[in-house]
Symmetry: D2
Subunit: 205 residues, 4 copies
Amino acid sequence: MPLTAIALNCSLKSREGETSSTDKMIGLIATALAAHDVQFTETIRVVDHDVKPGVTSDEGEGDAWPDIRRRVLAADILIFGTPVWLGQMSSVAKRTVERMDAFLSETDEQGRMPSYGKVAVLAVVGNEDGAHGISADLYQALNDTGWTIPAGAVCYWVGEAMGKTDFKELQAVPEKIRSTATMVASNAAHLARLLKEAPYPGTEG
Amino acid sequence: MPLTAIALNCSLKSREGETSSTDKMIGLIATALAAHDVQFTETIRVVDHDVKPGVTSDEGEGDAWPDIRRRVLAADILIFGTPVWLGQMSSVAKRTVERMDAFLSETDEQGRMPSYGKVAVLAVVGNEDGAHGISADLYQALNDTGWTIPAGAVCYWVGEAMGKTDFKELQAVPEKIRSTATMVASNAAHLARLLKEAPYPGTEG
Amino acid sequence: MPLTAIALNCSLKSREGETSSTDKMIGLIATALAAHDVQFTETIRVVDHDVKPGVTSDEGEGDAWPDIRRRVLAADILIFGTPVWLGQMSSVAKRTVERMDAFLSETDEQGRMPSYGKVAVLAVVGNEDGAHGISADLYQALNDTGWTIPAGAVCYWVGEAMGKTDFKELQAVPEKIRSTATMVASNAAHLARLLKEAPYPGTEG
Amino acid sequence: MPLTAIALNCSLKSREGETSSTDKMIGLIATALAAHDVQFTETIRVVDHDVKPGVTSDEGEGDAWPDIRRRVLAADILIFGTPVWLGQMSSVAKRTVERMDAFLSETDEQGRMPSYGKVAVLAVVGNEDGAHGISADLYQALNDTGWTIPAGAVCYWVGEAMGKTDFKELQAVPEKIRSTATMVASNAAHLARLLKEAPYPGTEG
């Protein structure tokens, strides 16, 4: 059964600007997913769209979220990518999960949210420390909104404490990062396939 | 395929003492699991065992962890229960996940930790606020150490801000808590069954 | 010595919309500050201003942050107010602290950020659980960017787990919330006054 | 006015074992405090004492906390040191702050906890990522229990993502770490002195 994956890049910088280190990490996972027969559809640079504040699925005129929401929910796997700022996820990442709050009230007759059966993994990149705290906050927000988290679901890179090196500036991707991306992709593809073939039954009521 | 579940109750109080609110929440999930043909084996009250500080799987003479570790890894589903203190997980809960750090270096030839293919869910109970922050920290620690997190993997109860009511003192379990426990169990059983029948393949390297 | 305080309300809703529960909590602290000879200047509803994504103090044309930044730094005490969504601070709150990242590189010859000597306290309000996790993330972000945190620096209210009551709907403010707001104000005023009279000396290097 | 400082080292390893990287970081701050006329009394290696689980100030026979509590509260400044495990504070650190929960009910007639007027700073050291998440959780736990947090209150070191280098193995302390320790000490000494000379007044109720 063919699967699809999509990525959200929650960088603070517009695509027009410099290349993003977060994109580089997303690329490692996306490439590894291809080896598992998963078609990677696209990366949405969220900051380039007008995702309005709110906790419904459509905040009215000009809101870019309904279209992003539709594209995300059409995929089987979500690669959620965020940079590290002040040791925390970006405000764009926070805005994105905040909009998924609406899933909690969009359940079907078996109590299942629109994200049920879909798998989320993380790509976290920063100059320095923050990846574990961000993973924690994102796992909780994504799991609360119905996403399933496969074993070892994050691939991250940060430099030494208080450093300023960007991931994209590294001459080579460290071997440990590469093997982690490979495992993240293997686990995500396996779990997404199982859940697509046999969806969560939910509850009666 | 028959499945088994086990619970870790990370209360600060010994089993000899008062009944635990955490036990009550664990019981809700365990009962709901029974409806999915999952055999609940036991609840281990961790504080009653001498789990030594450290990050290996055996910290030597008198260490109770090797036996707890064996029993936990023999089950397909882990119900991880913790009370809320200062808005955070208990020190007993922290000690328990800390000992799982060893899983990171206990991988097989396909790079899989001993927890791969096993599912973890949470039971969090406190007088007041803290469940979301605890879920975040526990999802991260458990996922980093190889556990898979099914959709909507926590059942929690806390009272109003700065309150002092215990979950076990409630005259009746709130309907929303009961339905959440039912969904947590349904999702955990479904996912654990899928992963037991078709384990993560891991990677070649 | 006269002191001033300002509040940032990081609600997702525009001031034009419904009254905000966060405003109500800010009001409790602001009123209590008046008893300590602190003049409360204004509440800025951040979502009503175009605070652009980025980590500099001025992200160019149309960026509302430079003006908000100026007003915030003119005060001695900051009341940072946020609602709880998915157990976490709002995306507007995250955007706000993200912009303070710039303080890290705006130090004077003694290595002091523009926020040095200023005191921050929190007003956190939600339907249910999340206040402790939010306090943690906000204390870290605000302290990293130079703010001083007085003893017991948060006044929060959330309802019972998975509930839907708004703070503003309560018939009366719970006595415990009122006394906490009084203590937060007392501690903030005392500390801000000490630091205004005797600023941090910083370091020579 | 002479001030004193004390450190809690929440390493998982006994003092009998290898030297601790956490001790090295504590030493940097303690040395810098000396330049501000602060007498450093001692470092308590908490794991070497039988601090029992619980949330009262004395958990009965054999409990080492009452004596540690007395020594900590006799000092004006607390250096709270913890290693990073799984991106989180150690279980020994968690146990330590958990015992301070009792401060919440040990207020005087002005509502002040025993920790009021005392200043806490952090020393966080690990092989890799986790310092920001730990700072967040510790600031929240320490502030909730009455400690005041000076501007920029943490000195931390962690290596590159997924690395294995220990802080104590570094040939030289990085300049950025050294200057941060100097600033942490300057801010802590200044604030502790102000608060010792002019304690928080608390509230009447």
